[in-house]
Symmetry: C2
Subunit: 190 residues, 2 copies
């Protein structure tokens, strides 16, 4: 069951932009992060939700998309994410957010997948611009933007031979391919 | 469904030590991490499995347990984890492993929970000792030890008022309590 969900939970970069995501859905996703483990149980992560077109446009203007796809600068109008969850770290609580961040983001995306949504964790952010546009206080370190929406692309996993290229790519039918290293390459000893 | 799994997936520090975990189960858990998202799809994380008593003892000797429980130095013989997954970062592939680490660890623990196992992410590690005991090459940065086993403790979540203490604690029945911040405290704006 969880294997199925994890397998289906692929990063998605094109969405049905008109299919809005209600605030309650975003709150439920953040709640999954809230219920997840946190280093020393400090729970230093906080969340900014965005699901209205104007706020979304501001967030979108701060993002860089899909580094390996040189000919594609991101989703065009009509295929942009209808929602975002911005994850920030409360520096009054902790200075390092590393493991918590991935735990929280994975919980959010697995929850999204269960709602037939998809998303993408975006770390390539114009942080100072985002801070200014959304009036984010200096107390909060901007860590990650999670784009969310109903997926408008097909993503497939493929296994690569040891040492093969891990760069994702799109084929002529616009299917997005994600090469994964084989299990025996990533298990060092057992 | 995923909410139920995430809620039940509580950090566990006491186990039925005699109930071994087969290598195949550990491999299946690493496979969940393998299938999860990775920043720029680099997949720099690698894994060392341990499920035999001698290797387990070496790993155990490198760990610090439950910082908030001052009177408890870790599980006694008989309640120690019957298995570990050690997560390391391959510095030939990347130098920063932060978000990947939490994503992978969360996938592993959710998978464990589905197998009626439980675990604990332990970041407080005597890294140089572990490197020496397990002969881990300098190429790999030791990031996290995930302890795994059949749980021998009850863990309950509780909601704290804003600003309440987040320190976990054990009651007189040896039940482990984990206070979580309320949702409205961690959502800054919507």
């Amino acid at each position: 069951m969880i294997e199925n969900l994890i397998t289906k939970n692929r990063s998605c970069r094109r969405f049905f932009q008109k299919e809005m995501i209600p605030t309650d859905t975003l709150r439920n996703l953040v709640n999954l992060a809230r219920l997840s483990a946190s280093a020393a149980n400090l729970q230093p992560l906080k969340y900014i939700l965005s699901n209205d077109p104007h706020k979304n446009e501001m967030v979108f203007s701060c993002l860089a998309w899909a580094g390996y796809l040189q000919d594609w600068s991101g989703p065009p109008e009509g295929e942009r994410p209808p929602a975002y969850i911005i994850v920030v770290g409360d520096t009054d609580i902790a200075k390092i957010f590393a493991t918590d961040l991935g735990i929280a983001a994975q919980s959010i995306l697995l929850g999204a997948r269960e709602h037939s949504l998809a998303g993408c964790m975006i770390g390539s952010i114009k942080k100072e611009l985002l801070r200014e546009l959304l009036h984010i206080s200096d107390r909060f370190e901007i860590l990650l933007v999670i784009a969310l929406g109903k997926p408008k692309e097909t993503v497939v996993l493929e296994e690569i031979p040891p040492g093969g290229s891990i760069k994702y790519w799109r084929d002529e039918h616009d299917v997005h391919h994600v090469p994964k290293r084989p299990l025996d390459e990533i298990i060092l000893s057992e």
